[in-house]
């Protein structure tokens, strides 16, 4: 165990040691800003270096239970980690190419994986090596995920998989994929789905990056042609995939959104500090300044909600209501409004593809990824209305 983790019983000391390590070892904030717009090779190399630096002090998977190679840190500790990174403008590996590996894969395998699956796949993640992607959405199955049509047909001790996946983030870097495919087209749509762990190096797997509105290619299409997946790579029983996928999707919320909220806090503070230092015109514009203050108040409200969600989570082990949906909507829309405000406040100078200083137009265009992905905000609204408020379907 590293020096930092040894201080876990003393939260302030843990925080201080982590802060010292980050100050000495984390790439500068400007690097994290720049790298999201860099070319894929540089981007991947940067993220892998950062991940292995953290793995070196036992902080690749600090939130995992000890038995799976984690440090078993409480949510409170994870929040401290997030806060300390956000404070210096660093992003956690979970917000980059390692997101699926760090949250979705363990969220699924801890609950559903066989001992062999856990032993085979989890160590590669806690060593900071394996990138995973998610093969859920399809061209015809977005919000209505259960209508997916990728077929997996049993052939002896293998499944033969054919189909197409889309919006798969970071799959061009991925070693493995968590995959949903239809094993029984005759039963009701939710009942005919199975869940697989796919080796991206198998023959018949082809990844084609999709160019996004930002010009970057964060996600890809995955084409699957007669891919032979061994039966032992199925998670849960045949036909149980929808249930298993609920564990995966539950892992998307929580700490990840909290990290975004903390970044928004420091970004708003930095924007205000810069505006003061440069005597920015928008600060003297009544409308823009007041808009900023409304955002400033709402981000604090969001952070409090995030705190409540995570700390309540700690107390009740994950049984919460519509709070994740509220957080998701609030978070992504605040990011969008903030970016939009900074674009307008920046005027014509921020219309360059690579403007001096910050690049709010990139953030603005990119922010629609947030409001659309991970369950579109419209799906979140359905959840709030139906599950939270009991409005009939």
């Amino acid at each position: 165990m590293s020096d930092i983790l040894e201080l876990r019983d003393d939260l302030p000391a843990f925080r201080a040691a982590l802060r010292a390590w980050l100050t000495a070892n984390a790439p500068p904030a400007a690097e994290f800003e720049r790298i999201v717009r860099a070319d894929p090779t540089d981007y991947e190399a940067f993220q892998r270096r950062w991940m292995s630096a953290l793995a070196g002090i036992g902080m690749a998977t600090p939130h995992w239970p000890v038995e799976y190679g984690g440090a078993g840190l409480s949510l409170r500790h994870q929040m401290v980690v997030v806060d300390e990174m956000a404070r210096i403008g660093a992003r956690s590996p979970a917000s980059s190419i390692f997101m699926i590996a760090l949250h979705h894969v363990p969220g699924t395998l801890f609950a559903w994986g066989t001992p062999e699956q856990k032993a085979r796949y989890l160590p590669g993640i806690s060593r900071g090596e394996d990138v995973w992607c998610q093969g859920f959405s399809e061209p015809g199955a977005g919000s209505d995920l259960a209508s997916l049509r990728t077929r997996a047909e049993r052939d002896g001790d293998h499944y033969v998989v054919n189909g197409q996946k889309v919006w798969s983030s970071h799959s061009r870097y991925a070693r493995y994929c968590i995959l949903l495919a239809r094993t029984d087209p005759k039963v009701k749509k939710h009942a005919g789905i199975s869940y697989f762990l796919l080796d991206m190096r198998l023959p018949g797997v082809e990844v084609r990056p999709l160019k996004q509105a930002t010009g970057r290619s964060e996600f890809s299409e995955i084409f699957l042609t007669d891919v032979r997946i061994p039966v032992q790579e199925r998670v849960g029983e045949e036909g149980q995939g929808w249930q298993v996928a609920q564990s995966t999707l539950a892992a998307e919320r929580g700490v990840l959104f909290y990290e975004n909220a903390e970044h928004l806090r420091y970004r708003l503070e930095a924007v205000m500090r810069d505006a003061l230092a440069s005597d920015a015109a928008w600060l003297r514009d009544d409308q823009l300044r007041r808009e900023f203050m409304a955002l400033f108040a709402e981000q604090q409200a969001l952070r409090r909600l995030g705190h409540r969600m995570l700390l309540a989570d700690e107390a009740t082990s994950g049984k919460h209501d519509i709070t994740p949906a509220l957080v998701k909507i609030t978070m992504t829309e605040l990011e969008q409004r903030a970016a939009d405000l900074f674009v307008r406040a920046g005027g014509i100078d921020k219309q360059y593809l690579e403007p001096d200083g910050t690049n709010p137009l990139f953030d603005y265009i990119d922010s629609f990824g947030g409001t659309i992905a991970a369950g579109s905000n419209e799906i979140m609204r359905n959840i709030i209305a139906e599950r939270g408020l009991g409005m009939p379907r």
Binding site: M79, Q300, A301, N382
Partner: protein, 372 residues
């Protein structure tokens, strides 16, 4: 400081009383001039100790502090309860923080017993030159609007003394100090004008304390209005959802229409945000830290704007009946519009917030730390 469970029990107790005493039927009887619900509620509030809820024990209060006050205002807001609660309780809270003064004990006794309410300026955070002036110890001039009852026993108001601003506590004698009501759109509260014609203040706040008093009164008024907004917005939201589940059109409850579900979900998001920012402001006030004013001002702007938006949407989501006098929607909507204007406009509140944030940044301090 009361524990959360105690505050929950307090809220439940207040809610139970108000459900019986301040029902929709009685509210409508009140706004139609058939019962004096404002006075009845005031008497009951006195009997139950609500009028001293935030005052320390040495003043005869229940000592539940700002958190207890917030609970009371939230529950009063839920029922759009009439009565001079916000102004009176904000005034005694601010006065209790002052050094001892001759009238202090008697004043608190009378307020707690329900015998005296206090009018205060409607927009304490909106600083302008005071309209009243004090010359040779006597007050002259007209100040409006005040938030208060037409039968207020006292007014706590700013006055110009030479070049300085001071604050005075004034007994309303009906001769040298007179209060007149002018009908406002919100039928659950009254806005009044104060005319002074040589009135002698019962108490002039010491020169050094005037700024502190204004600040305390502004914070108290802001937090009270914020929690009134939280309660009222939550209540009008709840009754709208219930209505939508029972109103059938095209052979299905209108609550099943996705276009309406999404609007309602957006309101739920705003409610959540309001509630969180209100707690932020309350925590900052309880801690009495450097950022209490910043968060009070920002919370006032947010809660006021959100409540106003929610109340408007709730009228619309009710359809035709939402636009009628017989339903409660318009009461919530009118209260929302008054709340939005009280304390200071949202624009002014955000400017005060910006001022506070800039000050904090220049001092190298963050206003946003949350304890873990």
């Amino acid at each position: 400081m009361a524990a959360d469970e105690d505050l929950d029990a307090l809220a439940a107790g207040i809610a139970e009383v108000l459900a019986a005493e301040c029902s929709s039927e009685r509210l409508h009887a009140f706004i139609d001039g058939r019962v004096d619900l404002d006075r009845t509620l005031w008497r009951q509030a006195a009997e139950l100790g609500w009028l001293g809820i935030g005052l320390p024990g040495e003043c005869g209060g229940l000592d539940l502090g700002d958190a207890g006050l917030a609970v009371l205002h939230r529950e009063l807001g839920r029922r759009v309860a009439p009565g001079p609660f916000i102004c009176t309780l904000a005034a005694v809270q601010a006065l209790a923080a002052l050094e001892d003064f001759p009238l202090r004990r008697a004043l608190f006794e009378r307020v707690i017993a329900g015998q005296a309410s206090i009018a205060i300026p409607a927009t304490v955070m909106d600083s302008g030159a005071p309209a009243l002036r004090i010359e040779a110890g006597r007050l002259q001039g007209r100040l409006e609007p005040l938030l208060g009852a037409v039968d207020a026993a006292f007014a706590l108001v700013p006055a110009r003394a030479g070049a300085d601003e001071t604050w005075v506590l004034l007994e309303i004698d009906g001769i040298a100090a007179r209060i007149a009501a002018r009908a406002a759109w919100d039928p659950t509260r009254t806005l009044v004008a104060l005319d002074c014609d040589g009135a002698v203040p019962a108490q002039v706040v010491a020169a050094g304390d005037a700024a502190t008093l204004r600040r305390d009164l502004a914070r108290q008024q802001a937090i009270a209005v914020v929690f009134d907004c939280i309660g009222a917005a939550g209540a009008v939201f709840d009754l709208t959802i219930e209505y939508m589940k029972t109103r059938v059109q095209f052979d299905r409850p209108i609550a099943s229409f996705q276009a309406l579900k999404h609007r309602v979900a957006n309101l739920r998001v705003r409610l959540e945000s309001s509630g969180q920012i209100a707690t932020q402001a309350l925590d900052a006030m309880v801690a009495n830290g450097a950022d209490a004013d910043l968060w009070a001002a920002l919370a006032k702007a947010e809660a006021g704007d959100h409540y106003s938006f929610i109340a408007g949407e709730c009228v619309q989501l009710h359809g035709g009946v939402g636009f009628t006098w017989a339903l409660d929607c318009h009461l919530y909507q009118k209260r929302a519009k008054l709340n939005q204007a009280l304390v200071a406009t949202s624009a002014r509140c955000r400017d005060l917030g910006a001022h506070g944030l800039i000050e904090a940044m220049r001092a190298g301090r963050s206003t946003s730390e949350l304890p873990l």
